[in-house]
């Protein structure tokens, strides 16, 4: 089943073309690592899938529903904002800088959207949130404020918060890039657990080791284009493109 489909998606910031005719299909249960040099459009691509960025032209289809469709840069999106919101419910997103709500405790961060957006009963939301916290190993931080926990813990809460909306697809935008090296592992473990549960995921990352372990498909982006789309084994051992080879060697040297 196609979970995400991008057809001829283009996007520019000013004169800079960030997404250059992207075509991509992500199937159910796939874990796709998106790698490539910075500025290659990885994050923008992710952000187009849940509407944080508007595409210039092309079409994005989420689980068979057209989420965004534009014929030209200055035409209106053919999908209404209301419809977009309904469709984007299927996606959860985790950000590089966590973006937890600082004025809410850990548990309040998680129940916020289920209660205000889905209208879930508060007691039920708390029960679910506690299960999610147990899953990411942070039940003891239930009533802490985000400022009182570490970066790795914040990111695990952010993952629990996104899961709280019961998404079918999870988008990770450089989930470990803002973390101290010793905290990276705990977040990667949580993501690996999700992969084992067959959650469909798109992960923008610079951690090549993690990408090769968790992903069953790797996409290499450069200059707004997808220049490789294959298995992790192939991309890390024998990439077709010399550009990819140089990039991976450069990263490995760090």
């Amino acid at each position: 089943m196609k979970m995400i489909e991008a057809i001829n998606v283009c996007k520019s910031f000013g004169a800079h073309r960030v997404l250059d005719n992207i075509n991509l299909v992500v199937n159910k249960g796939e874990v796709v690592a998106v790698i490539g040099p910075s500025g290659s459009g990885k994050s923008t691509l992710l952000r187009c899938f849940n509407g944080l960025e508007e595409i210039d032209t092309g079409e994005i289809i989420i689980e068979g529903d057209v989420f965004s469709k534009k014929l030209s840069k200055h035409s209106r999106d053919q999908i209404t904002n209301k419809r977009k919101r309904e469709i984007s419910m299927k996606l959860g997103m985790v950000f590089q800088h966590f973006n937890l709500f600082p004025h809410r405790t850990v548990i309040e961060n998680i129940i916020e959207a289920p209660v205000t957006v889905l209208g879930m009963d508060k007691d039920e939301a708390i029960k679910r949130a506690e299960e999610l916290l147990k899953k990411v190993g942070l039940l003891d931080k239930r009533d802490s404020y985000p400022s009182k926990i570490s970066g790795g813990q914040k990111q695990r809460v952010a993952i629990a918060r996104a899961l709280g909306m019961n998404p079918d697809i999870m988008l990770f935008d450089e989930p470990t890039s803002a973390l101290d090296p010793e905290l990276v592992g705990e977040v990667q473990r949580v993501i690996s657990d999700l992969a084992k549960e067959r959650m469909t995921m798109l992960i923008v990352t610079h951690e090549m080791g993690f990408a090769s372990k968790v992903a069953n498909r790797v996409i290499f982006m450069d200059d707004g284009k997808i220049i490789e789309d294959c298995t992790p084994e192939k991309i890390f051992s024998n990439p077709d493109h010399p550009r990819i080879k140089t990039f991976i060697e450069k990263i490995a040297k760090r």
Partner: protein, 217 residues
């Protein structure tokens, strides 16, 4: 000695009677100006260009002219074109409009200081504009703008003394009357103590809110 204490008490009571008006005007201004400030701030950063310009014009005028002139305008000026207001109504109206202008700019700056990641997180959780503002953005704005709001609240206590020009009997005017009658400095001292008392209560009150809101920092 005993007679001085009696004089002190009588004078204080007389001045306190005048301060009823001061407190009333103060309360009306605070109660209306804070919510107005928040609403106008949201309008000032909205995507409607005309609305933004309109609000900018409003804050430009009311922050750029003396409050005293605005009082004259509302009370005396409007009466010339046939709108006659009671002194208290005119004063309250002017104070609310004037203070809302300052608070609008304070809250606007507060809203703009919130990290855009907060909006993105709310959006990614499918919260709509009102849910995002009410539940995520504004609570953080309130916390950040407590100190400047407290400043305005203190200034307001003292600005209320301007209503003397509309012939209203407020705290300061009562003191002035006693001074004229007795030619003694005591009434002014009492007035000063009463103003200090009020500002102290306000500062204390704001400190309490600040403590309550700062638990998350």
């Amino acid at each position: 000695m005993e007679s001085y204490i009696k004089y002190l008490l009588d004078s204080t009571i007389f001045i306190l009677e005048g301060s009823v008006l001061t407190v009333k005007l103060y309360a009306v201004t605070i109660i209306f100006a804070i919510p107005f400030g928040i609403i106008l701030a949201l309008m000032k950063i909205s995507r409607f260009k005309t609305l933004r310009y309109l609000i900018s014009f409003y804050t430009w005028v009311f922050r750029g002219t003396p409050l005293l002139l605005q009082l004259f305008f509302t009370y005396y000026g409007l009466s010339i074109i046939g709108i006659t207001l009671q002194p208290f109504t005119a004063a309250a109206l002017t104070f609310v409009v004037n203070y809302s202008a300052y608070l609008t700019e304070i809250y606007r700056a507060g809203i703009e200081s919130i990290d855009k990641g907060q909006y993105e997180a709310a959006r990614a959780l499918n919260m709509d504009y009102f849910q995002t503002m009410r539940r995520i953005i504004l609570p953080q704005v309130v916390r950040r703008t407590i100190p400047p709001t407290c400043n305005e609240a203190i200034t307001l206590v003292k600005d209320t003394a301007l209503v003397v020009v509309l012939g209203m009997g407020d705290l300061l005017r009562s003191a002035k009357e006693l001074f004229s009658r007795d030619f003694a400095i005591t009434p002014f001292a009492i007035a000063a103590v009463l103003y200090l008392l009020m500002t102290t209560v306000i500062v204390y009150f704001f400190r309490k809110i600040e403590d309550k809101y700062s638990v998350y920092e």
